[in-house]
Structures are given as C-alpha cells and as structure tokens.
C-alpha cells in the first residue's frame, strides 16, 4: 500500500505541474483531472474510501467537467495559445518557482520534525464521517452551506432578467 501511495503522489505532483504548463486549456484540464484522480487514490491508500469517491464525484466528475464546458463554450483557438505565450514568457517562472521551492522545502522540514505523522492503517467508515460532520464539525458544515447559498443567489441574480415583459415589446 505504501508503494501505491508514493506512486500516486508522484503522479499527482507531475500532472499538476503539467496542468500548469500546458498551453492548450483542454489538455491542462485533462491533466488536472488525472491529478485529482491520483489524489483520490492517495486518500484511498490512507484509509478514506468515502473521501476518495467524493473527490472523484465532486471535483473530477462535476467541477472540472464544468470548467471544460466553459472552455468549450469560449472555443479558444490559436489566438488564445499565442496570448498565453505572450503572458507567460520563460523568465516569469523564476520568482514564483523560487518561492514554491522554498515552501516545499519548509513543508518537508516540518514533516520531518513532526515524527507523529504516520499512515492510518484502518479504514474510515461512511458512518464515522457522517457522525463527525454532524457532531463536532456541524458549525463548519453550516458555514459551508451559507457560502454555497450565497453562490446560488449570486448565480440567480446574474441570470435574472427582471420582471417578465410582454412579448413583442422591446425597450
């Protein structure tokens, strides 16, 4: 199981990098999906099959599909690719890359200090997750639902065309 964990993590890191660097938006999104699938596999090896399935349903199955949908709607062509090249010249990578490397090093350092970190060797049940969500974390669940409600109202406002006008009259 450890080997699977490390392999999936490597795939996740690699495909995330590819998702950032691809010029074609749809290819980048495909790599993002592979990365999400790899993260789901990581969750699975850590003993959380429910979270793994939710990762696939919510992120890979719904959210990224919507991203792809929007990219298809815009139907970006060659112009978008050249624009991407202009916006992201080779030198632009240096500063963010250095910062990311620094952060990655810090993360490794912290993980090394924290010796309590260990892989879970038991499977977390669906019921256990539900109890945790509606027990100690109920406030967080409610706050998340308020956030989603705000998004819903925003989307409704954006497509709302005011009171219905009579057909044939335009002003």
């Amino acid at each position: 199981m450890n080997a699977v964990f490390y392999m999936a993590s490597a795939v996740a890191v690699l495909t995330t990098l590819l998702a950032i660097t691809r010029r074609e938006a749809v290819h980048a999104l495909l790599y993002l999906i592979v990365s999400l699938l790899a993260v789901a596999l990581v969750f699975f090896t850590l003993g959380a099959p429910l979270i793994a399935a939710l990762e696939v349903i919510v992120y890979a199955g719904a959210i990224v599909i919507l991203f792809i949908f929007v990219v298809m709607l815009l139907n970006l062509g060659n112009a978008a690719r050249t624009q991407e090249r202009v916006w992201l010249p080779k030198g632009a990578w240096r500063a963010p890359g250095a910062l990311a490397l620094l952060l990655g090093g810090l993360l490794l350092y912290v993980l090394k200090q924290e010796s309590r970190w260990m892989p879970v060797d038991r499977v977390v049940d669906v019921k256990e997750v539900a109890r945790a969500l509606f027990g100690p974390y109920v406030l967080a669940v409610e706050i998340a639902s308020v956030l989603l409600l705000a998004g819903l109202i925003g989307a409704y406002y954006l497509v709302w065309r005011g009171p219905i006008r009579r057909p044939g009259r335009r002003d």
Partner: protein, 373 residues
C-alpha cells in the same frame, strides 16, 4: 435424489453465503500467488465475455423490439430469425477505415472512446450478479457507481471537442449539461435506498431486501424513487426521449459524428452496456437483486421460488427493466432542450428532495411493510 433436492432447497432458502471473487483472491493471498493471478484473469475474462455477449444480445433485442413496435419483423435474413445480424455488423464495423479528421486533436480523438468504455466496464466489476458472482464488493459501492458513471461524460465531451466539428461540439455540450443535471436526481433516488438499507455496499443492499424488495416495502417512497431513478438514468445514458445530444435530424449524429470503425463501435457499445448497468442497478437497489420473490408465510410458494437460481432472478429483473427502457424509446418523442432542463430542475429534483425527506421519516419511525428482522 431426495437428498440433493433438499440440499438445493437449503442452498436456495437458507442464509445467503455470499462471497466475491476479490474475497476469494485475498484469502488465497497467503497460500499461493498463482491462485490470486488466476482469480484476476478469471474476473477479467468474465468481464470481457459479459461485455461482448451483452453487446450482441442487447443490439439484437433492440432491433427486434423496435421492429415489433413498428409492425415490422426486424432483421430476418442473416441466420435463423436474424440472430447473426449483429455479428455480421460487428465484422463490418471492425473492417471499416478508422478516420481521424485532419484538423482534429489527434491524441484526444483517439483517447475519448476508451474513456467512455473504461468508465462503463469499471462498474460491471462491482455489480452483484448472484451470491457467488461478484468481482468486488466495495463498502462505498453506490458512491463508486455514481462516481465512475459521472466520469463517462468525460469521454463524450472530449470526443465532441476533439473532432473539431460544430455538430460534434454542440452534441457534446448538450450531453454534458444533460448528464450533470440528471445525475443529481438519479443520485437522490439511490440515496433513498441507501437510507433504507443503512449501507452503501451493493451486496449489503441486496441482503437487506430478504424480507421484501425496497420498491414496495416503504409505502410508495421506494416506488417514487424507482420511477425517478428510471427517468433520470434514461436521460443520463442519452437514450430517447432524452437523446438530444445525438439528435439525428439536427446534429447528424452528435458527439460521435466524426467517428468511424472500431472507435465508433466503442461509443455505440458503451451506450448499450450503460443501459445494462442502469437496469442492473435498478434491479439491485429496488427489485431485490438476486433475491427470489418471497411472500411471508407462504412456505411452499417461497420454496418453489427459491428453486430458481439467484443469477436467473437477477437476469430476469434486469431484462425486464431493459425492456421498459426500450419501450420508452419507441413510445415517446424526443424532448426539446428547454423541456429537458425544466423536467429535471423543476419537476424531478423537487420530487427527489421531498421523497428523500419522506424516506428519512420512514426510516426514523421504522415503519415498513414486512418488518422481517
């Protein structure tokens, strides 16, 4: 003879000793690795054979049923009663040229049919066909099925986009919108059964229906969610009356307009296998899966029903639901896009939510027909 009969009776009516191929494989993991490999090869072979057979049988059945509905006889020329027609068509498809449009995104165009097919085949592995015929039982079975089936839309979207053809693109986008919308209703309907059974494992759900099938055990709640599931999943697999993604009269063929030969047959086959999966799920969750039809107290009747092997029960229920879905296709006209969206968001979704609440009330008050255990 007498002894054998009683043994069959015990096997058929006694407690179900269910065991999956994965469990057998993990049991023999300590003793020999060859046995594990043999189990894996066996499972793979079974899936391949099942997919091939289903393709042949379902396409033949669709043609014959379509023929009967339109007062024709259907295929009659190749083989007795046209039985070999699908085989002949398969050969024709395999021998056809595999065309990739010049301006298409080649890699994506090649990948898309396999994504579609892969999502379909993965589900076949977790379905319980009988107590001893199941490849793998996940404790998140229902969730796994929704996750993987939602993933099949990737293949359709990619196929439509990579063809570089406006009809393909429009078909793919319609399909994406439709599948994501109707997935919600289908999942809500499945959740009702998860609530009743108290488990997400498909085997656990079948075993929880020993006292009675969920479709009629819960005062109409199960029946409503069965109907919602049937409608929503017919839309999810893009079949008429919800086949606007490939509406021939407007989009030539929708997302697979640019596909030919083997790759087209992958899309085509995965559509039929999806129909099998949808009806297998309906049979498993609402119609008791491989559980025989029992009536409480009628011992003789129950014993006779128990003589029919569980795999036949599963196949029978499955074929019934498949027939209903085919019946839909040759009865209803195609919906418009706006009608399609209205049906989901304004009718099915509210019904699904109300039904889920009613189901939780039923579960809380433990108010079932046939209390059983």
């Amino acid at each position: 003879m007498q002894n054998a009969m009683s043994m069959i009776l015990v096997a058929a009516t006694g407690p179900w000793a269910a065991k999956t191929v994965a469990e057998r494989a993990s049991e023999s993991l300590d003793t020999s690795l060859w046995a594990v490999a043999a189990y894996m090869v066996l499972a793979l072979l079974a899936v391949v054979v099942l997919v091939t057979l289903l393709g042949l049988v379902l396409i033949y059945a669709e043609r014959k049923i379509a023929g009967r509905f339109q007062c024709r006889v259907g295929p009659m020329r190749v083989g007795p009663h046209g039985l070999l027609q699908t085989v002949a068509d398969t050969f024709k498809l395999l021998l056809k040229e595999d065309i990739i449009p010049t301006r298409a995104d080649q890699a994506m165009h090649l990948l898309a049919p396999f994504l579609c097919m892969g999502a379909t085949v993965l589900i076949i592995a977790v379905l319980p066909y009988s107590p001893t015929m199941q490849i793998l039982d996940l404790n998140i079975g229902v969730l796994f099925v929704t996750a993987v089936s939602g993933f099949g839309v990737m293949g359709i979207l990619l196929g439509g986009w990579s063809s570089n053809n406006k009809w393909s693109l429009i078909g793919a986008m319609r399909s994406g919108a439709q599948i994501i919308s109707y997935e919600i209703s289908a999942t809500l309907a499945l959740l009702v059964v998860v609530l009743f059974a108290g488990t997400m494992s498909l085997r656990g759900i079948v075993e929880s229906q020993e006292a009675g099938w969920w479709i009629w055990r819960a005062h109409g709640v199960g029946l409503i969610s069965f109907i919602v599931y049937l409608i929503a999943s017919t839309a999810e697999i893009n079949r008429t009356p919800f086949d606007i993604p490939e509406g021939e009269s407007e989009l030539t063929a929708g997302f697979h307009a640019e596909y030919s030969g083997l790759r087209f047959s992958f899309f085509f086959l995965s559509e039929f296998i999806n129909m099998f999966i949808v009806s297998a799920l309906a049979a498993t969750l609402f119609l008791g899966g491989w559980m025989p039809f029992h009536i409480g107290g009628w011992t003789t009747f129950n014993n006779v029903m128990g003589l029919i092997p569980p795999s036949l029960w599963f196949a029978g229920k499955n074929l019934f639901v498949i027939f209903v879905i085919m019946w839909f296709r040759w009865t209803f006209p195609r919906l418009r896009v706006d009608q399609l969206m209205r049906l989901e968001w304004k009718i099915l979704l509210p019904i699904g939510f109300a039904n889920l609440m009613a189901a939780s009330l039923v579960v809380l008050s433990n108010f079932y027909f046939f209390p059983g255990k």
